[in-house]
């Protein structure tokens, strides 16, 4: 499942081209895009449900947007749900190993290390809270029909999952890495910083340390070279 907004000139086509190799269905909620985002989505053979909002909901009440997408996903009767953004892409191993990750009874959620590629696709950021090695993100969850799923009444920073899927599910921490391409273009940093800063202030009254670090001087930004992973020969 994916929320999109004006992604035509960004990474959406690439992300969908990858996803269609290893997911069965893609459900997209377009949050009132004004570019060719809808055309890209409709051209993807795995997109089984696409809907476009008339008004942008992300800027007014994110939880309602997420809940709307969730209700759309429930209609296609999924077994597992991948919550992914239009600028996140798994390393190629996932195409070969996704099925084995979900065909089991041991765990109900899979978390992955997310790498924020920074200024190009050659490097990822690793200082402070950007360090991808010390945190895992929950992106894949088993769906159990009939269970009540609820969302917090949060206009911003509401998270990708309903409340029932955030806590103590049996989790597997995968070593398959995810590239976040949202910071690849340096020219976007200021606009994104201002956007998140404003949302932090609305939610918390002040910008978070992480948001402030977006505009940290180069001397405080630590980068490491991204090395493409190997597909396992098994």
């Amino acid at each position: 499942m994916m929320v999109v907004y004006n992604e035509a000139a960004r990474f959406l086509a690439r992300v969908l081209a990858d996803l269609e190799q290893w997911v069965d269905q893609i459900v997209v909620l377009d949050d009132a895009s004004t570019d060719g985002t809808g055309d890209i989505c409709r051209a993807c053979r795995r997109v089984v449900l696409y809907e476009r909002n008339r008004e942008n909901m992300f800027s007014t009440h994110e939880a309602r947007l997420r809940e709307k997408l969730w209700r759309m996903v429930e209609t296609v009767r999924p077994d597992w749900i991948l919550a992914i953004d239009a600028d996140e892409i798994f390393e190629p191993r996932m195409r070969h190993e996704a099925r084995s990750l979900v065909e089991q009874d041991y765990y109900d959620a899979v978390e992955f290390r997310m790498f924020d590629l920074w200024g190009s696709e050659e490097y990822y950021r690793c200082d402070g809270q950007w360090n991808p090695w010390s945190r895992f993100s929950r992106l894949l969850v088993r769906y159990r029909p009939g269970r009540g799923y609820t969302w917090p009444d949060l206009p911003v920073h509401c998270g990708r999952w309903p409340l029932e899927l955030r806590g103590g599910l049996p989790v597997y921490y995968s070593d398959i890495r995810v590239k976040h391409l949202g910071w690849v273009r340096s020219e976007d940093h200021l606009a994104k910083y201002l956007f998140y800063r404003e949302r932090d202030i609305r939610m918390y009254g002040r910008p978070s340390e992480h948001t402030e670090s977006v505009m940290a001087p180069p001397s405080r930004v630590q980068l490491e070279r991204w090395r493409e992973g190997k597909v396992l020969p098994l």
Binding site: S100, W133, P170, Y173, D175, K230, L232, P233, L234
Partner: protein, 409 residues
């Protein structure tokens, strides 16, 4: 059934209960679990106890959080601020206070039974853990060493029984304190022979021929497991011949090492680093040709060694801890001192000799049948009945003194 057991049975109002004290099934913050042998032992022991009708509750180091180890089995946490002489006396005492409510207590690691054990209790030795060079520096003076030994003696003296996964620990203890001999029960580790098998529906078990010879190191990434020697051997062999491939499969205890090993593997052709969920490991074993268990120390009867044997692979192991309980050198595997030179020599040789690999692997599978999960469950059940002094309903125990017949008979 003795009189005490009868009285206890009358007092019981619900299912039997067992409390198990461990150190770190989850990391102390509760956020990480590395599925090594101890963690899988914990799962199988929990499954057995649940199947026997026990309500099972685990305790470990932590800040008060609780997690599920498996459906219906909780792990609760308690603080353990100090670890003098490699013991956790405060954790022991906090647990023992709670253990009055249990029918049975299990100290999952021997030293957790220091300074005291409750009356109906069992401690488990997973092997000698003080045979690595750094341990001496932890107890650098004769007085320190004496105190550490004194505490170990107390830990071994308290529980009704000590389960040891290998004979090395029992022999050391018998030679050191002969009076404790009656407390030990040798229950070697286990393997599920149906899950870990030479052939499976995945078709992974193709022998080398048109593909490189695959060599597996299926351990968590620590020095005592021989990681560094194995990594150097992999560098040398992949440079010397283009028909070998190395797979390092397992997590580390810290993120930094996982990062370093991944970057190292990505920089070398035909060296892979990854980990897999437990249900995928049988397929990983099937896809390999040689499995290496080059532990330097702190070893019992390693589950990974048994799983490799059950999968019918040629196993190269060190003779640390209980590995010689599993491998007879030259019959069902190769035992070596795990130096880089020895590993390179034996792996180079085995990589060139598919016939030897096949013979060792077939015998390894045969020997693995003596360590089946069913045998392990029966032995544990019998021990539980002995300690509790009463039969466990539905256990279906039958005498099992002789080993099972060889495969195919």
């Amino acid at each position: 059934m003795n009189a005490t057991a009868t009285a206890r049975r009358k007092l019981r109002t619900g299912p039997r209960t067992v409390g198990i004290l461990t150190t770190n099934h989850f990391s102390p913050d509760g956020n990480r679990v590395v599925y090594g042998g101890a963690e899988r032992y914990a799962l199988e022991l929990s499954r057995l106890l649940v199947d026997l009708g026990f309500r099972v509750e685990w305790w470990q180091i932590g800040t008060g959080w609780q997690r599920e180890l498996m459906p219906g089995v909780l792990v609760r946490s308690m603080p353990a601020p100090d670890a003098p002489y490699q013991t956790l006396p405060q954790l022991n005492q906090l647990f023992n206070e709670r253990a009055v409510a249990y029918d049975l207590a299990i100290y999952f690691v021997v030293f957790l039974a220091y300074p005291s054990a409750v009356e109906r209790s069992i401690a488990i030795s997973h092997g000698i853990y003080w045979d690595y060079p750094g341990f001496d520096a932890l107890n650098p003076t004769a007085r320190d060493r004496e105190e550490w030994l004194r505490r170990l003696w107390i830990a071994l003296s308290g529980p009704r029984k000590i389960v040891s996964v290998d004979t090395a620990f029992i022999q050391w203890a018998n030679a050191t304190w002969p009076g404790l001999a009656h407390r030990f029960e040798y229950i070697p580790n286990f393997v599920d022979l149906e899950v870990f098998a030479p052939d499976g529906p995945d078709g992974a078990a193709t022998e080398a021929g048109r593909r490189p010879v695959r060599i597996l190191f299926p351990r968590r990434l620590t020095g005592v497991r021989g990681l560094n020697e194995m990594a150097r051997a992999a560098e040398i062999l992949t440079a010397a011949r283009d028909d070998v491939e190395f797979h390092f499969v397992g997590r580390a205890h810290d993120d930094k090492l996982e990062k370093e090993v991944l970057e190292w593997a990505l920089a070398h052709d035909r060296i892979y680093y990854y980990w897999k969920p437990p249900h995928e490991m049988p397929r990983v074993y099937r896809a390999m040709d040689i499995v290496v268990i080059p532990s330097r120390s702190s070893e019992g009867t390693a589950l990974s060694c048994l799983e490799a044997m059950a999968a019918g692979k040629a196993v190269v192991a060190s003779y640390a801890g209980g590995l010689p309980n599993l491998i007879i050198h030259g019959y069902n595997g190769i035992l070596v001192r795990p130096t880089v030179e020895n590993l390179v020599t034996v792996l180079d040789d085995l990589a060139s000799r598919p016939d030897v690999r096949a013979t060792l692997g077939a015998r390894a599978r045969e020997v693995a049948t003596c360590f089946s999960l069913q045998v392990w469950r029966r032995r544990w059940t019998r021990l539980l009945e002995e300690v509790l002094g009463e039969p466990l309903e539905g256990s279906g125990i039958t005498a099992e003194l002789a080993p099972p017949p060889p495969a195919g008979t």
